[in-house]
Subunit: 232 residues, 2 copies
Amino acid sequence: MQEKSKCVVLLSGGVDSATCLAIARAQGFETYALSFDYQQRHRIEIEAASRVARSQGVSGHMILDLPLGNIGGSALTDELEVPKDCSPEDMSSRIPVTYVPARNTIFLSFALAWAEVLEASDIFIGVNVLDYSGYPDCRPEYIEAFQRMANLATRITVEGKAFITIHTPLIRLTKSEIILRGVELGVDYGLTHSCYDPDPRGAACGRCDSCILRRNGFRQAGVDDPTVYAMR
Amino acid sequence: MQEKSKCVVLLSGGVDSATCLAIARAQGFETYALSFDYQQRHRIEIEAASRVARSQGVSGHMILDLPLGNIGGSALTDELEVPKDCSPEDMSSRIPVTYVPARNTIFLSFALAWAEVLEASDIFIGVNVLDYSGYPDCRPEYIEAFQRMANLATRITVEGKAFITIHTPLIRLTKSEIILRGVELGVDYGLTHSCYDPDPRGAACGRCDSCILRRNGFRQAGVDDPTVYAMR
């Protein structure tokens, strides 16, 4: 029996990364999940990531502490207010204050380092251009440039032992398409977490950008949303 | 009076980054130094970086804790042995075990994030191809690919407010040329630290790759090396 190829999957614990992990598994990879604790307001994400990783039988799950809060510049790490009740059209026309400077570049850099140690050539990231066209580091041209840089950056690629591929299976899917694909692959979305501003008990606010995209996605997919929303 | 442009300078506390910082100052930038504590054996580096930053009057010095040791794969973060007494020819023909996977990619990614928050368009890194041709992430083609990716990654570049430039003023200089340039600019090399394997009092071993390059550099430059080497 041929050994499975290893891959690193960036896992935040939300709908997209949980689906991305399931797709990597379905493609026959042995999966290693990588999550970050970056002083985000919603640390509950990390717990969701751990539940998702366990439920999908990853071979390893690394959670790295990152000092992104020291750098600042984002509502997710600073004391800026998370915007509420925006329309999907509003969201896609601006770079939101929840943007974290160079976040995907930092996340992919650590994925690259771990891939090199694992001797894995494949990295999965659940970025998506449709919901958030405002995030520069979710676009295909950015991912291609990262991949090109990665293949010049590391020992395994320079010695010709590997070619790093950055997989973005969700990049052109709508949220409802992502959810339908995940349901097909058996993803339990009850384990995931999306809200930028959960209440102290962990219930989702239902009104931040991330909650709105999630709710609309489930509605459009015709799938029941297992999320517990706070009544307020 | 025109305001100075800000730049981020990666500062390890060694000869190269101290010189790189002095060059950025000499080019008229307002400098922000960025150092990392990544569980390296030689944490004494961080103290050297702080001394160098202070002596060169930076506007800010950020030291970020990075969990590179969790990822592993390097003699600088693992329990692998640091090689001793290698010839410069030996060093340049291989990727040393002191290579840290994707290190410069990770460091530059954080520099990029901080640059975005500072609204700085310039990043300085003291990489050099001559001494260590074995490090893939010290080569010009790698730096160019990073710069290209960086200009697709961030809000300030995508909104057309800036073009990120990665400056590598040392990339083609020999160690002795670097030292002569630094002496010209008033760098106090007595504040710097190079050794991969210092003794408990902080004295340099004199025999690791980094010490050998440093000693040869000072000798070839005809400059007294202020380093305290352990007698052993």
